[in-house]
């Protein structure tokens, strides 16, 4: 396996969003691929949602169900554990990624498995399960077509739903010829898909252990669900004699009937279909059908920290549909890699820093990777107020920096400027003085009625935009001159 670029979950320092975005923005092929792809999905989603007269009611029910679950998460997890055990499954608890990986590797080793087949699971990307298994001498085969593509290329996902959205067909053809020894291959998508079918069929039939994530798991019945398109999910959860499912603790839902809400919200929001091709629901083990050994691993890995934040908590409503990525004007231009996380886009910008903790420069930059346009909140099927959480997290990032007490933090030019401005705005006389000072102070910059170039950190503005100079008269000066001092209203309260 080739070495992947570090991300927020692999420990160590990651670049900031600004740095990574600059690289992505320069890649014109990527920009074209992404623009085309996101616009296509966006339009399709709008059609799929338009068809539903009760969409808003479904969103509200989805949000409320998640709220109910999260407020009583301990009860629901215990109920889930009980239900899975009753149905013949085993339940494991993992505080963090390391523990989850250890449990899964332990199960694979106890069955002497050298190879495991996997169905797309972002939770296992988060824990770096494949690398861990490799260290234990176990090879993990990704079976989702896109996951296979990026695994073969030694890359990371750039989209929750379509991880290889950044790759085009000729790149994929070349990759399959090089890595899978396919000969005489065209770059026709059906041909490429067929190579994957043949290559992976053998793996499915031979694997002793299958590994999956979970879209949902029902506390009441213990029924776990995987939503997919290709059939690799059905293969992984049906054919190997042993199945291990890793799920974040927030994926539990109360009752079987609650699927009627989420199974309407998820497919239309994610692939813009009325229903995705395949959904598998299984409850423990059943005699004569499917795996005869089932393990469910319940993983925390930072989720309880998110839960503890009353504003941030709603982030755990996420059902990983990726609708927010597709409508995000920032994601559309930078792509997923700029986020340096297995969770890209608007949801990643709020989930990643919360999971790994505030105070890491790379992930601390993520809440700023947004113009706060609110398009994500509008499409979110479980009504996560992403802009609100972004703003909340920006506050946490700044307070963390300020409270750290380092000289560097105190002298940070942004911090100094913001504090000075806040002081100015806190007093009318200081404010009016600053208005006059700006008018006078700008003369070295203003030429011919415009400002072409700003100094220092503000230079980014004038890279592509002229700036209007401060005019001769402020509004309040005009108001005073028009109304005379008699109308110099000092306001109702201040």
């Amino acid at each position: 396996m080739e070495i992947k670029a570090p991300d927020a979950f692999s420990g160590g320092r990651t670049p900031s969003f600004e740095e990574s975005a600059r690289e992505s923005l320069a890649d014109t092929q990527l920009r074209r691929n992404l623009g085309k792809a996101t616009q296509t999905i966006r339009r399709k989603r709008a059609v799929a949602v338009e068809e539903m007269p009760d969409w808003e009611q479904l969103r509200e029910a989805g949000r409320a169900l998640k709220e109910r679950t999260l407020r009583h998460l301990d009860e629901y997890l215990l109920q889930l554990e009980e239900s899975v055990k009753r149905a013949g499954g085993r339940v494991h608890w993992a505080r963090d990624a390391e523990e989850a990986n250890g449990i899964i590797a332990g199960i694979a080793k106890s069955h002497k498995a050298r190879e495991v087949v996997k169905v797309k699971s972002i939770a296992t990307d988060e824990t770096k399960l494949n690398e861990h298994l490799e260290g234990e001498g176990i090879e993990a085969f990704e079976t989702d077509l896109a996951e296979l593509i990026i695994q073969l290329a030694g890359e990371t996902s750039s989209h929750i739903l379509v991880p290889a959205i950044h790759k085009n067909r000729s790149e994929i053809r070349e990759l399959f010829m090089r890595k899978l020894g396919a000969r005489g291959l065209s770059d026709d998508p059906p041909d490429l898909a067929n190579v994957a079918r043949l290559y992976l069929r053998e793996k499915f039939l031979g694997a002793k252990v299958g590994i999956s994530g979970a879209n949902f798991a029902v506390a009441e019945t213990g029924t776990v669900c995987v939503v997919e398109s290709e059939g690799n999910g059905r293969m992984c959860t049906t054919l190997p004699p042993v199945l291990v499912t890793l799920m974040g603790i927030e994926k539990v839902i109360p009752t079987w009937r609650d699927y009627e809400v989420f199974m309407q919200l998820l497919p239309r929001s994610s692939t813009a279909e009325r229903m995705n091709p395949y959904t598998s629901f299984w409850t423990g083990v059943s005699e004569g059908d499917g795996p005869q050994e089932f393990h469910l691993v319940l993983m925390d890995n930072g989720r309880t920290e998110v839960l503890a934040d009353e504003i941030g908590r709603q982030t755990l409503n996420c059902i990983r549909c990726s609708a927010c990525l597709n409508v995000c004007p920032v994601y559309e231009r930078t792509g997923g890699h700029a986020y340096n996380s297995v969770y890209p886009g608007p949801i990643g910008a709020i989930l990643t820093p919360q999971l790994v903790g505030i105070g890491r420069p790379g992930s601390d930059s993520l809440p700023y990777a947004s113009s706060l346009c609110g398009a994500c909140y509008e499409v979110c099927p479980v009504k996560i107020n992403i802009p609100e959480v972004l703003i909340h997290l920006r506050g946490k990032v700044v307070r963390h920096k300020q409270d750290e007490g380092s000289i560097k933090g105190k002298l940070d030019p942004e911090n100094v400027a913001m504090k000075a401005m806040a002081k100015t705005f806190s007093d009318r006389r200081l404010y009016e003085g600053a208005q006059r000072a700006a008018r006078i102070g700008q003369w070295p910059l203003a030429r011919g009625g415009t400002i072409h170039r700003l100094p220092g950190r503000l230079a980014g503005w004038t890279e592509a935009r002229e700036l209007k100079p401060v005019p001769e008269q402020t509004f309040r000066e005009w108001w005073r001159s028009r109304n005379g001092s008699a109308k110099d209203s000092s306001g109702a309260g201040a």
Binding site: L372, A375, G395, Y431, W461, K468, R476, S489
Partner: protein, 257 residues
């Protein structure tokens, strides 16, 4: 000057100019006053107002924003309505002040905010939804396209109020902006912190504006317009950015001057 008994004249209305307009776009403030007075609204301008704290709050300097929130509440709390020619500043007060009060752990401030927030309006929603006016008697013989700013659209949900006002303007050729609802890329400090991404977003917005062959691009927010207009000017595109209030304030007589 102000005909008594007309709609709106009994309301105590305060103009919340916003620090940005006060300093950089006084013409928008003048136009706002003109439109409101033309409709018989008695406008007050409390001079103690400074900044609502949006930039601080949205950039994460929330502790620093709280005194500004308090100040705003004290200055404006006794008015019946507060009108701002800015969707994002009105949105800050209406949608984010409750969060600020929560952060300040100040119940009284929270109660004051709860009372004041619903009385804060962006100009177009004040005219259309509060006063029930769509024709403000404006004359503007130009080809114009309208950019619905994100905070007007998705935070305040002003809906088609600005378009209703624009459609009633005499002499104007209003053309639809393609992909109008897409963010222009301004986003406050985003435009500086993530300048590259912001510019990438702007360039698409500019392309759409130019596609309309409009002479004027208008919106309800000078911050977005400064960004769009600054880009147009840098490109020497021959299209200017004009605030909605200024179009609404234009009259036939002025045009002939």
């Amino acid at each position: 000057m102000i005909p008594d008994g007309e709609k709106g004249s009994t309301l105590r209305v305060a103009l919340f100019i916003t620090c940005f307009n006060d300093t950089l776009f006084p013409e928008t403030g003048r136009a706002t006053v003109e439109v409101l007075e033309r409709l018989g609204v008695r406008v007050d301008f409390p001079l103690e107002q400074t900044c609502c704290g949006q930039m601080h709050f949205n950039t994460g300097y929330q502790r620093e924003a709280i005194p500004l929130v308090r100040r705003f509440v004290n200055v404006f709390k006794d008015y019946d309505a507060v009108v701002a020619p800015s969707g994002s500043c009105a949105g800050m007060v209406r949608e984010l002040y409750p969060m600020a009060a929560e952060l300040a752990h100040d119940k009284r401030l929270g109660a004051d905010v709860e009372e004041l927030a619903p009385k804060v309006f962006e100009l177009s929603e004040f005219l259309v939804k509060k006063l029930g006016v769509t024709d403000v008697g404006a004359y503007y013989p130009h080809r114009v396209t309208y950019h619905p700013t994100c905070h007007s659209l998705r935070m305040l949900k002003v809906g088609d109020a600005p378009l209703k006002l624009l459609r009633a303007v005499n002499g104007m050729d209003l053309v639809e902006l393609p992909e109008a609802k897409e963010c222009c890329g301004f986003g406050g400090t985003f435009a500086v912190k993530n300048a590259d991404t912001s510019i990438a977003m702007l360039s698409d917005k500019l392309r759409h504006v130019l596609d309309t062959e409009a002479e004027v691009c208008t919106a309800g927010d000078n911050s977005c317009l400064m960004h769009i207009g600054g880009g147009l000017k840098r490109q020497r595109a021959g299209v200017r950015a004009v605030h909605l209030a200024e179009i609404l304030a234009s009259e036939a007589t002025e045009e002939r001057e």
